[in-house]
Symmetry: C2
Subunit: 276 residues, 2 copies
Amino acid sequence: MKMFNKVVIIGTGLIGGSLGLTLKKRHLAGQIIGLSRKKKNANLAKKAGAIDLVGTSLDVVKDADLVILATPVDVIVNLAVKISNKLKKGCIVIDVGSSKENIVAKLSKLIPNFIGCHPLAGSEKKGAINLKADIFKGSVCILTPTVKTNKNALNKIELLWRNLGAKIVKLSPNKHDQILASTSHLPHAVAFSLMGSVPEQFLSMSSGGLNDTTRIAASDAKLWSQIFLSNRKNLLSAVSCFQKELNALKLALQNKNQRSLTKILTLANKKREKLA
Amino acid sequence: MKMFNKVVIIGTGLIGGSLGLTLKKRHLAGQIIGLSRKKKNANLAKKAGAIDLVGTSLDVVKDADLVILATPVDVIVNLAVKISNKLKKGCIVIDVGSSKENIVAKLSKLIPNFIGCHPLAGSEKKGAINLKADIFKGSVCILTPTVKTNKNALNKIELLWRNLGAKIVKLSPNKHDQILASTSHLPHAVAFSLMGSVPEQFLSMSSGGLNDTTRIAASDAKLWSQIFLSNRKNLLSAVSCFQKELNALKLALQNKNQRSLTKILTLANKKREKLA
């Protein structure tokens, strides 16, 4: 069922490209035009069948029914400024950024039919070379409407994500950023720091534990430094919470307090069961 | 090729049971007798074909050619005291504990043909229910001989692990504990603390990142509190190194220093490439 005639995807990396591929596969879009700062990425996306055409200027948004902003978080606002006066009436714009408060505050003012989205389907892999269809199947997509959000546009985007296989959760932009600081940005900060702290000459003497714990330390450095900065205050709070936990474990270890140590580990065990 | 006529495995959990299963599969042992504090585990191991018989007392070690101590680290020394005067001449004893300094110091004095071993093939899963053959294939097994170690016994155990598919690394017990504090015990401490710090009500809003980073926080709490305490000083040093790394990241974030933040993340990226 075609939901949109013309879709423009700006940023044809892992999420943007995979979105294009899934829209195609599920026949949800007529024509898909992709744009990328890196021409190579857009060409790869076209080759993979994720987009029909490589756009050459932002003017392609003029007659779009849906514009998807799938660039790194730090350029989304500037991009929105540039396209906002080109859009036709009724065009819906979504972003897929990892932090929402700043983006939603600014884009809501610029674009009447803007809906903030965050599909929890990223990976440490990036770029059009890694895109694949159906990465959204069974995943959670968080929508961050505000009191000003156009209800029709919201319903349509909710249906779009459902059609892509995602489960919808609606949160305020503020709440989204607070939660994701704990569940995504903190684990990344911890994984990067853990990787940084293990001496290189020891790496061959490791097993699955270190490997899994640091998988996301392979995530793109520039992209993630921008995400960290875009959710700075919440991430700093989450890091402080984590530091308290680690200090409690350290204290039990310093005091040779096996009972306290086992209690800390047991609580973590119980919470982990709820994650799976 | 049969290497040992009679093998006794004390502790038929994930590692002990999987060892039995692999010894059987590769025809390396004549008879295998298994003992466990939990009768259920030994019976499960027998049912899985990992052992031929369930032993009822430590006296079964009397005519063993190889005794494998595969219990939690905190009981290995006591167990060695109990069996040391029962062993026949020439019997080789190995342990598979996650820390080596204390165990090797004590067992070297008690048992003439003792070789400390640490196969890096554990998992967050435990117990005979999860055992499987060939978990050692392609993995690293660290041997920790000392100047007093019997060379013939060492050569035989080295060959045994090679026959099980493992790659051998030899380290002093002290160096082993220093390295494993960084590559295994620290990632566990970090994963437990990370799991502890994420509010339970946020867990449904997470993706693969948190999941992988905290997989080993599902590891047995009692077992790991004992491992942590058995390598306390090295682990405390490793935790301090990690805390310094995290503080550097936090400082860059507090100062909105994107350049410094990207640099920290890039260094972690580069090290992570060497892990895979």
